[in-house]
Amino acid sequence: MQHSRYDYLNVIRVLVMIGFVFMGDQICRSQDIVISNAKLKVKKDFAIITYNFPVKHHGGLFDVSVTITDPDGNSIINRALSGDLGKYVLGGAGKVIFWDLNIDRLLISKDLSIKIQASPSSEEKTEQDMLDQDTVLTDIPAEPNLKSANTSTIPGNALLEREENMSIPGRSISRAGVILPSFLLPGVGLSIYQGEPHWLRGMLGYGCLAGAVVYYLKAVETYDSYLNAFTVNEAKKYLAQSKEHDDKSEYFGYAAAGIWAIDFIWNLAGSRELSKKRSSENLNKLSLVQGYDPVSDIPLIGISYRF
């Protein structure tokens, strides 16, 4: 089933939580690890995640894995992740992971939790691995896995211990973008952004408009019959019918105008509310999280993004 991008995102209301989890010997020893320049941008159908390893881990090799789970904890196979993930990711700055939402979003029906986890590469690289990686990596030895030695130093209840907000510009909502489409089909402007069937107002509006036109034509037709009547009774009958049709035409016309007017006010209010909501979401949808995951027994420093 195909959906338009906006409909899909609105109707399904995808809520994606992305967590970066970095684990390594040095990280485990220190509680003050801060991931610098961790950012997420959504461009068209791509989620682009950029991050930097701590400076003291520059040059190290890390295995970066990605886990996507639904709210029930069920793992979802993702096919559209690429970039700095997998084995032997060189610790350093400017790391990028791409997620092609266009490919994978068909799998998304609920809120998702996406966890990107990095651990020091525990194996020596094979020659083939070396060939597969950037040649710079050939000079960098893999760091030892000191996980077991460090877990004891991490408090078990530190998850979500610290959180700070960052703002990311979201898709802007212009009032004209809501109102103008709705002028053609009432409600469609809000439907685009909210995904709710506001367009039903449009159908109702056009239904009333069609009713107005139909009765208008009937009124004109019977009025012509009145003007060409050959008897007094015929004339009375046709005139009464014409007036009746004309009245109905007016009622439908006023109803249609009312629908358009109400929709206009609705759009004004709705677009304002959407803008506020979107601004609020922009402020809150990205946050940094530092803590500890008691399930996997590893320290956490992550970023969560909701859209």
């Binding site: 004209a176 002028f183 004109v220 009145y226 003007l227 050959f230 007094v232 005139l239 016309g253 358009w260």
Partner: protein, 126 residues
């Protein structure tokens, strides 16, 4: 500027919608009809007309007018049947026609302010 353009568009559309409402109003009209001229002879004929709707107006006169030119008026020959206050059929008789000439005839009704005419019929006495 964008808001202003939206506002202008809306006002324009509302004006169009409201002006559209005034396009048609089934108002009563004075309806007078002239039936086909009958019993045409070389010098005479019978006329029949009807006031279908008098708009509840008291008419000071009604009848027929005829002449040798199209759209005859009260300035041409007339048959005056007097005042009438309700719809109904009326008849007339024309005498003294000249054979071979084409005549045009209409029914009429009038009050102090206005004159209304019916459809037109024409005939040529043999």
């Amino acid at each position: 500027m964008q808001k202003l353009a939206v506002l202008k568009t809306i006002i324009l559309c509302l004006l169009l919608m409201t002006s559209g409402c005034d396009l048609f109003e089934p108002e009563r009209q004075m309806i007078i009809i002239l039936y086909n001229v009958t019993e045409i002879t070389d010098t005479s004929c019978n006329l029949k007309g009807s006031i279908i709707d008098n708009m509840e107006i008291d008419l000071t006169d009604h009848g027929f007018c005829w002449g040798n030119n199209p759209s005859p008026t009260l300035d041409d020959e007339i048959i005056s049947l007097g005042a009438i206050s309700s719809p109904g059929i009326f008849r007339g008789y024309i005498d003294g026609l000249e054979p071979g000439l084409k005549y045009y005839v209409r029914a009429f009704a009038r009050n102090e302010d206005q004159t209304w005419y019916s459809n037109e019929d024409d005939f040529t006495p043999p």
